[in-house]
């Protein structure tokens, strides 16, 4: 990635944001009953695992965790060079569950649209909520997050990258101009 880099969040700030989101999820859903976390590959799945850990620290319960790959649900086949398809891994029924969908950066909303299509193919959740670490604006679809780590006004040409270490822990959020 070329250009000037600005650090938006360091690892401590990310942890604080995730802790707050974990509390908000529990407050909104009144505990962990029926709650499941689904992370969007790749990035969102690592953050979902962090949230699972934080919820376990607060409530003492490990809520079910799944990952969804949205490649098969994208609307731009034939217009991109990367054709890699990852695996969706959700080993529990979604019917009547309260699903919290987790992604790292919310931008146009097209990824979330695709992820919701993927989820409803697997079952009929009671609710789907959306948690994101960064909301950078520029929505192209009527999608709004329920839990946000940081609202970050950006221009379209800028790029946001969430960095993870080898253990899949988030270590920083950077903005490239």
């Amino acid at each position: 990635m070329a250009g000037e880099m600005t650090e938006i969040l360091d690892s401590t700030a990310i942890q604080r944001a995730l802790t707050r989101i974990a509390h908000e999820i529990l407050e909104r859903n009144k505990g962990v009953d029926n709650l499941v976390l689904i992370g969007i590959r790749t990035g969102g799945d690592y953050l979902a695992a962090e949230l699972q850990q934080k919820i376990a620290e607060i409530e003492g319960v490990k809520v079910p965790l799944g990952t969804v790959d949205i490649t098969m649900y994208r609307d731009d086949l034939g217009h991109r060079s990367n054709l890699e398809v990852g695996q969706t891994d959700i080993r529990f029924p979604l019917n009547d569950r309260c699903v919290v969908l987790v992604d790292d950066v919310l931008f146009t909303g097209r990824t979330i649209r695709a992820a919701m299509d993927a989820l409803v193919d697997l079952g009929r959740p009671r609710t789907i909520q959306l948690a994101v670490l960064i909301d950078r604006g520029h929505r192209e679809l009527p999608i709004r997050p329920d839990y946000v780590g940081r609202n970050l006004p950006t221009s379209r040409s800028e790029q946001i990258e969430v960095q993870f270490n080898a253990q899949r822990g988030p270590i920083g959020v950077n903005l490239f101009k």
């Binding site: 490649t71 098969m72 649900y73 994208r74 086949l77 890699e84 398809v85 695996q87 299509d117 193919d121």
Partner: protein, 323 residues
Amino acid sequence: MNFAHRHVLGIKQFNAEELNFILDTAKSFKEINTRKIKKVPTLRGRTIVNLFFEASTRTRTSFEIAGKRLSADTVNISASSSSVVKGETLEDTARNIEAMHPDIIVMRHSASGACHYLAERLDCSVINAGDGTHEHPSQALLDAVTMIQHKGQLAGLNVAIIGDITHSRVVRSNIDLLHKLGASVRIAGPKTMLPPGLERLGCKVFSRVAEALEGADVVMMLRIQLERQGKTLIPSLREYSRYFGLNEKNLALAKPDAIIMHPGPMNRGVEISSAVADGAQNVILDQVENGVAVRMALLYLAAGGEKQNHDADEGDIHEQLAD
């Protein structure tokens, strides 16, 4: 990686990295086949024509189901119900179909190279579902997925392939794929069914089945094509069965955990005994199951690799046509 192929004409066109990429993609699509709702919208609005000039149940159904599970519209044309019986040439048939703007044509034809011929002349993607005695790439890929499923990886495996090698497109695709991914191939069959030059492809060739089976990890039996050459190249089916058939006795020569494969349809009691075909080591139905995932991957990659590959060899053909 950048997958730059519009057509799937044979294993020959892919390198090891691309083959692994196809196998990984198939693995991801496999999960869909275990869902309650077995459908994803990936190829919504695309049209796939299954153009089968030769009889086929497994492959055609597999491609059709694969297309449908990706939400494509699939149309089947078989030779007996097409204008081929009225004397139309392959090129005219294909051009007429192309005028209806399909995105992918999946073709099986009795002539080797028929798919290459079409790929050079048509605008849509062409997938080879078996051309004469040349290649059957989707079969080799589904065989590879099945071997990996049971053995972890292809590198280092000893694969024994037994039967009519000369007339088998399955073998040609398999030898190429297995060698590119690090397995070794042993071949056995009647002399009349062994083409010259197998050693040059890197295979070990045996005239006795027992030698090929010794210590094998995978045993792949081929069908004797009773409706074709099969009958004239061997004295009798009984003799073939005795010397080249797989039974419980000679299977004991292979590794105890060896898997048994067959591309189907099986001639029970000829190349494979019923006891072995139904035995614990057979993975024949796993092959069929994996076939759907492999074909989903091929359709997806052919459709997706469509617009950015003018530097690939098929792209060159494409440009020549435009001139």
